[in-house]
Amino acid sequence: MKESRMSKIIGLNLIFVLVLLGLTITLSAQQSWKMTIYYDYTYDITDDGYLTEARLDNNNRFFFRRAYFQYENKIAKNIKFRFRYDADRKADDKFRPFVKHLFLEWKNLIPKSKIKVGMTETLTWSPIAEKKWGYRSVAKTLMDNYKGVTGKKIDATSADLGISLSGVVSKEIRYAFMVSNGSHYSHPEKDKYKKFMGQLHLIPIAGLSLVGYADYEKQSEDESALTYKADIFLEMVEGLIFGGEWFVYDSDVNKVDDRQFNRSGFSFYGRYAAIPDKLNVFARYDRYEPNTEAKDDEINLIIAGVDFTPIHKSFKIQPNIWYYSYADPEKKDDIVFNLTFYYTF
């Protein structure tokens, strides 16, 4: 039943897209297409770690991690339409596409702002943190990666159905707001409650960014969830970016023995353009705390690597190492090597 409903939604989305394409192709020549692929060879360096011991029989593999297909059409001076298909690997190992973005963007309806309506990126990490980190091909950001590393859910998604407004007050002050279903881009809305997001981005000095974010959604009549997040970015030395991210997910739903707990984490990273357009180096440290009331469940993750562009910026090779260490004394450290291939065209 759920699958049938999802199929209908996807089908309707496709019809919507085709109609818009049909209308817009005749109106404007300002169209662009883009495809991006992340492809890995992964090798487990340790064989007795918490993760790596469990997959001894499969300790090295090639796989496509993600593929994006994006179409944009500027149908008028201030109006743009975007359609984006993502594909990633599912439990049965098949590579399945899904609609990630399907929105209309209207610039300057309110001066120096843009409004997006449809399925669009949320404010949580995509517009700023992910861009500053710059290596989505290697790893998602802290919040985006949370469930993948800890196995624990936080109520956050990179895209959702809703409406957003973002704008610039001055070069020192930017803002963004969004209202969305709160149910994730791949799930239909399941309740009457909506998620409200707000973000303030301050740049008091050239190269120093301070970003404050919060979101709120009721979970039921008596329960609600609140996320608050802070980021800092330093770009004051040519070719060098430092970033830091900290967040807390505070949900009334998260309880153990009737005691409410939070999930939190923080991350520090840096990247440096050793040879602009040719060679970059990057490193990151993440700390995950799935239960602020529990002991010995913290996870530390270090990611380090290089980003090499051998011929053209559309093709990059990014060897990287992931080092996991666990507060739980029962779990041994894991070290995994990835050779990531990044294509975009």
């Binding site: 404007s28 020549a29 300002q30 360096i45 340790t46 064989d47 008028a76 001076k77 120096k112 610039v168 070069k171 020192e172 930017r174 740049i203 050239a206 190269g207 120093l208 960014s209 770009e235 004051m236 030395v237 040519e238 070719g239 440096y272 353009a273 050793a274 040879i275 602009p276 357009d277 040719k278 060679l279 180096v281 380090a304 690597g305 290089v306 060897p319 190492i321 070290i335 090597f337």
Partner: protein, 301 residues
């Protein structure tokens, strides 16, 4: 396990050594990127500078004003060439990334309207030009020419000339969807030479043969008037460009991240000094006047 740890250590060390070696190499060459209108001129200026300073290699690439400005903001060039001022969006992004652009004017350009030499049209008003490029006037007959459909040649949206022309001639409205979007000035000139119905806009440095000093064979440069009641002027008339009587004139810029230093400062001083300005004039552009010189001096402090 020992072998694996050794491999890990080697990979990390290799990366660091590799990065360190190439970082040193990177610092020695001046990288200049951006405006296609400026690329040939700046390449010639760079060659003249390198003759006197062979220890300072300079690489000059095109890609359009937008590309050059983006490269300056991303830290992948030392000097951005651009034929339009920075947009608000670029100023905001530069601030976010800790880049403080300083702008210098190195030449003046009369954006030239060219047609095939067989076209009998000699002049157009700005209003007519705007209507042609918006697609409102589609036939040469409507402006006193032959009964032929007009073929439009222009640039791509990352070009400063594209943006400048859209703002100053099209009144910020959209280009006709029939306009052919060429990669650079040279492609527009070649297109017009082949197309008797064509019209294009290019930097003035591309309309003359630098060796002979005459308009290139195969094209005609139109005179342009501000309105129906004003006389029309040629972009090749320096006095008309300097005085503002030629209506589509513009300064040509270079920007650096903050106050330029060392070899970059020296190169910019060469470009804006007497030797550099002689090259500017020889290549068909116009030299900078006293107002531009004063602005440059201020930005060098």
């Amino acid at each position: 396990m020992n072998f694996r740890r050794l491999l890990l250590i080697c990979l990390i060390c290799f990366g660091i050594i590799f990065a360190a070696n190439f970082t040193l190499a990177r610092q020695k060459m001046i990288q200049i990127k951006g405006s296609d209108t400026l690329v040939n001129l700046v390449q010639i200026l760079a060659e003249a500078y390198m003759e006197k300073h062979p220890e300072t290699p300079i690489a000059v690439l095109g890609g359009g004003s937008g590309t050059g400005i983006a490269a300056l903001i991303n830290g992948t060039c030392d000097i951005a060439n651009h034929s339009r001022p920075l947009k608000d969006k670029e100023i905001n992004l530069a601030w976010e990334k800790g880049i403080k652009p300083r702008r210098f004017i190195i030449a003046v350009d009369g954006v030239s309207i060219i047609v095939n030499e067989s076209n009998p049209i000699e002049k157009l008003g700005i209003d007519q030009l705007g209507a042609i490029y918006r697609g409102e006037i589609k036939s040469w007959k409507e402006v006193g020419g032959p009964d032929k459909q007009i073929s439009l040649y222009g640039r791509q949206s990352n070009s400063g000339t594209y943006v400048f022309f859209q703002e100053h001639v099209l009144g910020k409205q959209n280009y006709s969807p029939d306009m052919m979007r060429m990669n650079g000035n040279a492609q527009i000139v070649e297109g017009i030479i082949q197309d008797e119905s064509g019209i294009g806009y290019v930097g003035v440095g591309y309309v003359t043969d630098s060796k002979k000093g005459k308009v290139r064979k195969g094209i005609k440069v139109l005179k342009v008037s501000k309105d129906a009641n004003s006389p029309a002027y040629s972009p090749l008339d320096k006095a008309a460009v300097d005085s503002g009587k030629y209506p589509i004139a513009r300064p040509l810029f270079q920007s650096t991240n903050g106050k330029p230093k060392d070899v970059i400062l020296d190169f910019i001083k060469f470009e804006t000094g007497p030797d550099g300005q002689k090259i500017v004039e020889r290549e068909g552009f116009f030299t900078i006047g006293s107002v531009h010189k004063a602005q440059n001096e201020k930005n060098l402090k």
